[in-house]
Symmetry: C2
Subunit: 230 residues, 2 copies
């Protein structure tokens, strides 16, 4: 804010750039990311019940542990910033609830596509937003991104299913498109309701539409890698 005093200049620690986002916007963003990780964890454990056998049911639950570990990293950072993690997450609860209510998987493969796709889009999103953050938060996000257990497990199972029965390709591709559509919908809702958060997400001169197009393209390339169509 002020450039007239030393205290203000050294305000935050590793010297924030002139355009560094304010503390409140960072708390919003970390709250959104933390809730995303917490709910990804819960969703995997719920959806694990769709597994064809107890071994795979347990495997998805075990893979989900990476997400709750990520939640803890983000929650710790929120507390460091003086924020209550529960309160920082609360504004985004309804968007996630409504997304999950409209995309409840009907079987094991749909559950895995949701895991794979959700994890991948979340990772792309993490990468995009981390660019605008300070050193410490960027490092935190790199640690979060390094966790790929659930995504690897899901990709492997989807590939095997597509190879074993080409007929599932169409059905799962359609399901993936629906997930993306619903996801874009909720992202627009969250952005419309929170200007401060949107500013930090899209960055200087960016627009939400451009960001969503970019995420969608990355997603389409990734679908191919597990044998699905765009």
């Amino acid at each position: 804010m002020s450039e007239t005093t030393d205290a203000a200049a050294q305000n935050d620690d590793p010297a924030p750039a002139a355009s560094a986002p304010g503390r409140e916007a960072v708390i919003d963003l970390l709250g959104l990311l933390a809730l995303g990780e917490l709910l990804a964890f819960e969703r995997m454990v719920y959806d694990a019940r769709l597994a064809p056998d107890l071994g795979r049911r347990a495997a998805l639950s075990e893979a989900a542990v990476g997400e709750i570990r990520n939640y803890r990293l983000l929650a710790d950072r929120l507390q460091e910033l003086g924020a209550d993690p529960g309160e920082a997450m609360a504004p985004f609860k309804e968007a996630f609830r409504s997304f999950d209510a409209s995309t409840s998987p009907r079987d094991w493969l749909e559950a895995l596509v949701k895991v794979y796709l959700g994890d991948a889009v979340a990772d792309d999103f993490f990468r995009v937003v981390s660019a605008g953050l300070e050193e410490q938060d960027r490092t935190l996000i790199e640690t979060v991104l390094a966790e790929t257990g659930a995504s690897d497990l899901a990709a492997e199972e989807i590939r095997a299913a597509v190879e074993a029965d080409a007929a599932v390709t169409g059905r799962l591709s359609l399901w993936a498109r629906r997930l993306v559509g619903e996801g874009i919908n909720r992202a627009q809702g969250v952005a419309a309701a929170n200007e401060r958060l949107t500013a930090i997400i899209v960055g200087d001169g960016g627009t939400l539409d451009a960001l969503l197009r970019r995420l969608t393209r990355a997603h389409q390339d990734r679908m191919k890698s597990v044998g699905l169509n765009n």
Copy 2:
């Protein structure tokens, strides 16, 4: 059984006695314990949704991680014994499903009582059965027992709730009795269906009824320690 050899006289420590349980019975038992841990994990994550705020919801999910870690230890041991964990667990799935279907908590405190009580009774049970096992399995069970995160969290919240509002005591005590009743019911069903497993659980000369009475007494003492009645 025999009093004629030193090995039998010191029955209880390392060296398996002549009466050491067969491999199949140990696999049954480890399958039962592994499924118990896996489902305790899932149940906590599901029931965490009943939490009054996102912070406590996350806390219960985080505490649940100890259970899935225990599941992994037991599953690894099953694999060491040449058994498939999924197959070893399958015979007990219906008993747990039916227990959970008849004891679905209606609110956060009921969920916590179920966590606390389930964890405690499971621990008592682990202790009882470990006596009949060989060294390696006893050590494994000690490691499993050392995990108390979920139970500690639940006990703390229940005590605080009882202190804040004495009126909840009666309701939660009744709920705890119902959980125990349903649990005994399912235990009897499992025992009746599997003689080999029952033999390893009750030990030489023991009966299931005596074991259940012993577990129930331990449970009653424990209820008092969180402010509930028998």
